[in-house]
């Protein structure tokens, strides 16, 4: 019979509690660890093994590399993600043996044009990194490909 009193007590108590709302554009939410936001790419760590590109379900990652003729090691020339089709699954991060690609804490993903969603190494630099580490190699594949200007061409149907 007095259940309503319980309800009034509950709402009355809430009236004096602190609100949980974040004033979003001015106040940013605290991003928890393990958040799958836009990627950070560490060019200095990447060994150009192509594992991320192969595991990617939407095939949006392009790794461009060439082999050093003396040591026979792969050298990274360029690394891009067509972010407009990325589904933020995090497989690339899991596949990477050297932690060169990481899911970041960037969550404001909207942009005004498709071209802006094309992620270059500069756009994916982790905080604190200078653009000095970005590699724009001169390998065969890099010179021959036009993937940076026409990302749509890579779509496989």
């Amino acid at each position: 019979m007095f259940r309503w009193a319980k309800g009034y007590a509950y709402t009355g108590k809430r009236l004096f509690e602190k609100t949980v709302t974040i004033q979003y554009p001015q106040q940013k939410p605290k991003i928890p660890e393990g958040w799958r936001g836009r990627h950070y790419f560490y060019p200095d760590r990447c060994t150009a093994c192509d594992a991320c590109a192969r595991v990617c379900p939407t095939e949006v990652i392009t790794v461009v590399s060439h082999r050093d003729p003396e040591t026979k090691k792969k050298i990274l020339d360029d690394y891009t993600i067509e972010f407009e089709r990325c589904i933020l699954c995090g497989y690339c991060e899991e596949a990477c043996p050297v932690d060169a690609i990481k899911m970041g804490d960037v969550y404001e993903l909207a942009s005004y044009a498709r071209e802006q969603e094309f992620m270059t190494q500069e756009k994916m630099l982790p905080p604190g990194y200078s653009t000095d580490v970005v590699v724009h190699g001169q390998g065969e594949a890099y010179r021959g490909g036009d993937y940076r200007t026409k990302p749509e061409k890579k779509v496989n149907h």
């Binding site: 309800g7 709402t11 809430r14 009236l15 509690e17 609100t19 949980v20 709302t21």
Partner: protein, 334 residues
């Protein structure tokens, strides 16, 4: 407010007196409009904080200009009249619903001798006038020529008529104790103590049925957003919609005044002037109504009827009978 308001009605007719009457009514209307703005803002703020949100906080400091923005938006909106509507009734219905709510202020006793009409059947006048709103709601629902407003209007009629009975019955207990149906007389009878204490049963019946009369949350079936769009005012837009809302919020104020007058000693109170005490008590009632909206879910239609006829009405009648017996047993109790 501090003019001798009653004198004007009994004084011989002159054009100057008529002008003064208009001025007084205008002042009252402005006060009510300001109150409605404050109530809109207060309701959204209080509901927000109950739900752990800050409520409106973008328009002006702390969002105080939000009701102004809302009203301006409503005034600039197109006044849509549905093709199927009965135009004349459709146009007049919100007026029929609002005007009685404003008329109730005629008998509100603000302080000794500060009231518009010192009617010796003030309480009866109040309940009779509020009954007219039912006609406005039903005709608004019917004239829209649409199924949801019709449902809302019918629900409104059923609910308002059902709850009118326990409301009047619970008021009768107070009238019996005071020995008068004059609003000012009832306040004067509470010189020693408030009628809230001896009339606690009556107050319970009164508060519940008055909440039902206001069409607010536990009893907002005529509007029922989640069931019938917006009930009887679904088809209304622009200024007519504003008029419906105005009527609804004015009723909370009016019923707050009635509640304070009948059960909480009206203008009686220490230190502050009488009209301020009445206003404070009425505002506490408004706050309670908002708190209720933040707490209770909507009732089911059949339980609503059962509650009115099988619980509230017997409760109010029992209260009336007990009051009468006690009054007869202890003559000169007051």
């Amino acid at each position: 407010m501090l003019l001798n308001l009653t004198g004007l009605l009994t004084a011989p007719f002159t054009w100057l007196n008529l002008l003064w009457m208009f001025v007084e009514v205008l002042v009252m209307l402005v006060i009510i409009l300001i109150y409605v703005m404050a109530a809109l803002y207060g309701e959204r703020k209080i509901l927000g904080h109950i739900q752990l949100r800050p409520g409106p906080n973008r328009t002006g400091p702390g969002g105080v200009l939000q009701p102004v923005a809302d009203v301006i938006k409503l005034l600039f909106k197109e006044d849509v009249i549905p093709a199927e509507a009965d135009v004349a009734v459709f146009k007049i219905a919100p007026v029929i619903a609002f005007v009685p709510s404003f008329m109730t202020f005629a008998v509100a006793p603000w302080a000794p001798n500060v009231l518009f009409t010192d009617l010796n059947v003030g309480v009866l006048y109040f309940t009779a006038v509020t009954g007219i709103t039912t006609i406005g709601i039903v005709s608004g629902g019917w004239s829209s020529g649409s199924k949801y407003p019709l449902l809302g209007g019918m629900r409104g009629a059923a609910q308002l008529i059902s709850y009118e009975l326990p409301l009047v019955m619970s008021i009768l207990g107070v009238v019996l104790m005071a020995g008068t149906a004059n609003m000012a007389g009832i306040v004067e009878a509470q010189q020693k103590w408030w009628f809230f204490f001896p009339q606690i049963l009556g107050f319970v019946a009164f508060f519940i049925s008055v909440s039902a009369e206001m069409n607010r949350t536990p009893f907002d079936l005529p509007e029922g957003e989640s069931e019938i769009v917006a009930g009887y005012h679904t088809e209304y837009s622009g200024f007519r919609m504003a008029l419906w809302m105005l009527g609804e919020y004015t009723y909370i104020f009016a019923d707050g005044l009635l509640c304070a007058t009948l059960f909480f000693g009206g203008w009686h109170g220490p230190w502050l002037p009488g009209w301020l005490w009445l206003l404070i008590k009425a505002m506490i009632f408004v706050f309670l109504a908002i708190w209720t909206r933040g707490t209770l879910p909507r009732m089911r239609s059949d339980t609503l009827m059962v509650f009115a006829w099988k619980f509230l009405l017997p409760l109010a009648m029992a209260n009336l009978i007990i009051t009468a017996l006690v009054k007869a047993a202890i003559a000169g109790w007051f």
